[in-house]
């Protein structure tokens, strides 16, 4: 008798990303999803969970250890192959691009497994996008702080209003074909180097 629900194991040291994938799989109707963050005792966990599909992030340095475990049949009862269809190179490439790999028990139909792998890929990509946006937002906040400091320096040293200080920074940036934040950074650095009263 074949089991109704596939057992899926997510191995990811990044808890937020793991949670995002887990949620995606549950929303898609996969009830039996386990998550492992810590590699200690992983052989035991795999033996207990008996997963049909294992999803792992590519940054994990323990992939070599896991693969050798899959090849020995002691920890895993059935042989595990990477992905389900070696000939599906587009899918494999999409996974590696996204930074994820999937190991699948031999003998599963690919129609059952592909949606899971596709889900992992799309959630990995969504996480990367989110991390990138967060990084950009952080950078934007930093830029705003630097521009405020540069404005303050100009206002103090040249007696400009806030509006004029900002206009001068913008004009300089346009003339030099540089980013406003870069011009502001140069001004702040110069002011720091010259010390108080230097400008």
């Amino acid at each position: 008798m074949s089991r109704a629900a596939l057992r899926i194991l997510i191995i990811d040291e990044n808890r937020i990303r793991a949670a995002i994938i887990e949620q995606g799989l549950r929303e898609a109707g996969h009830g039996e999803v386990s998550v492992v963050h810590d590699m200690a005792g992983i052989a035991r966990r795999i033996a207990d969970i008996e997963p049909d599909v294992i999803v792992i992030d590519l940054e994990n340095p323990n992939r070599d250890m896991l693969e050798s475990m899959f090849q020995l049949s002691r920890a895993v009862k059935r042989p595990i192959a990477m992905f389900v269809d070696r000939s599906d190179s587009a899918s494999i490439e999409a996974a590696v691009d996204a930074g994820v790999s999937a190991y699948v028990i031999d003998g599963l139909r690919k129609e059952r497994v592909k949606p899971i792998v596709d889900m992992a890929i799309s959630r990995f990509n969504a996480f990367s996008r989110m991390a990138r946006e967060l990084e950009e937002a952080r950078g934007e906040l930093e830029s705003r702080k630097i521009i405020d400091r540069a404005k303050g320096i100009l206002m103090k040293s040249r007696g400009l209003s806030e509006q004029d200080a900002y206009a001068l920074l913008r004009k300089t940036a346009m003339n030099q074909n540089r980013k406003l934040a870069d011009v502001a950074q140069s001004l702040v650095t110069a002011a720091d180097l010259l010390g108080p009263g230097g400008l």
Binding site: L58, E59, N60, P61, N62, R63, D64, M65, E67, S68, M69, Q71, A81, M82, F83, R86, S89, I92, E93, V96, S101, Y103
Partner: protein, 412 residues
């Protein structure tokens, strides 16, 4: 000269130095190659990225491309080896407890593989008689020089690696921690990961690769077969750049610069002092006992970059020996064809450097340093002996495989 971009993957290990130097010291740029380096976290990632074409070439374990071509890996691709990244560089390190047990059975801090292995065998049997669990050794990958030389050493000392010890996989940077925490009792890994345990006071170097099999193959340059087919000139240019980089790495006058560069977090990220041990062969084996090992790691000398077909075939015999693959003429041919000395020769011919006269040699036959080579220039090979005095003649492959199978049976 037209710039050709080549993407290369590497692992943070000391023997990635030749690739790193080819880029950082400008040898690749001088050959018109824009060499892009990507640091990876596992051999599996390297294999996957070379298979899907993210990488054109990569720092690989010597047996890895053979395993790929034999279809033994989850994701396989046609990978060839036109260049070797060095000879030697590994040690077998054991915990202090195991070392004390070995010392009680006659081991000395002299790295002698026969004496150490015999002592380890006695310890293993004493433990078995006392009902203790088997010792657990770690290697970095199943298809690695580490795995095969550890097994060769154990078997040569009468220890059955399949039954009397447990062999597991641990990534090199985690070896020292795993040993200190008692999760493993010993490991075979490249430097500096052995000296890391010695410095921490948690391990003792029992023997070295250069003593188990002197001047033996380790990491190689794995290349997508399509690169050799579609861009042979670019590949030749890269091999010349690697040749110059390897010579630079061998030169003692450059060792300070080399270790300073490799100490950067983007490459190896370990202090220069600890790297110097591999370069000089002066190892603290534990407890302050310093031993000098001849030819501990050779990035260039002794034709270290030549991809000998006999090296590929020896790895193949060990894959057969330990049950990774069944022996057949077809499989042997895949292993033989994986290493490509013809591409190495074609690339280096314009430089007029000394090249070996043959593509394969009888491994373990040279007991002293022997001048060989063609093209007038001088080339020295050997000594290249196995610790047990056996030789491997690649022309007598079947006989060698047979002997190893029966020598294992006598252990049963």
């Amino acid at each position: 000269m037209a710039e050709h971009e080549i993407n290369a993957g590497f692992m943070p290990l000391f023997d990635s130095a030749v690739l790193v130097i080819a880029r950082e010291m400008g040898f690749a740029a001088r050959e018109g190659i824009h060499l892009k380096l990507s640091r990876e976290t596992s051999w599996a990632n390297i294999r996957d990225r070379i298979a899907i074409g993210h990488f054109d070439v990569a720092h690989m374990l010597g047996p890895m491309p053979i395993a790929c071509n034999l279809g033994l890996t989850p994701l396989a691709s046609d990978t060839i080896v036109p260049f070797s990244l060095g000879l030697g560089g590994n040690c077998v390190t054991v915990s202090n407890a195991v070392w004390d047990g070995m010392a009680a059975h006659g081991a000395l801090a002299d790295l002698d593989p026969t004496r150490s292995g015999t002592a380890l065998g006695r310890l293993i049997r004493a433990r078995a008689a006392a009902g203790e669990s088997p010792l657990r050794f770690a290697v970095t990958h199943p298809h690695s020089g580490h795995n095969y030389e550890l097994r060769y050493w154990l078997a040569g000392c009468g220890i059955d690696p399949a039954r009397e010890v447990e062999i597991v996989i641990v990534p090199p940077p985690f070896m020292a921690d795993a040993l200190a925490a008692g999760r493993i009792d010993g490991y075979c890994a490249g430097e500096p990961w052995n000296s890391v345990s010695v410095v921490a006071g948690t391990g003792h170097i029992a023997t070295v690769k250069a003593a188990i099999w002197r001047a033996s193959p380790e990491k190689v340059l794995g290349v997508r077969k399509s690169l050799a087919r579609d861009h042979p000139d670019a590949l030749s240019a890269l091999l010349r750049a690697l040749h110059h980089a390897a010579r630079w790495c061998q030169e003692p006058a450059n060792h300070n610069d080399l270790t300073a560069l490799m100490a950067q977090p983007a490459f190896l990220g370990k202090p220069a002092e600890i790297q110097m041990r591999a370069l000089t062969g002066r190892l603290d084996v534990g407890g302050g006992a310093v031993r000098r090992v001849e030819d501990f790691f050779l990035p260039f000398d002794k034709a270290a970059n030549f991809p000998w077909k006999s090296h590929a075939l020896w790895f193949y015999t060990q894959m057969v020996r330990w049950g990774d693959v069944a022996h057949s003429p077809e499989h042997a041919a895949i292993a033989r064809d994986c290493y490509r000395p013809d591409l190495y020769r074609a690339a280096l011919k314009p430089l007029g450097v000394a090249l070996p006269g043959a593509n394969a040699k009888v491994e373990g036959a040279l007991t002293t340093a022997t001048p060989v080579g063609s093209a007038g220039a001088s080339l020295v090979l050997g000594p290249d002996g196995f610790f047990d005095g056996r030789i491997f003649d690649p022309d007598r492959l079947d006989a060698y495989i047979e002997t190893q199978a029966s020598s294992l049976q006598t252990i049963d």
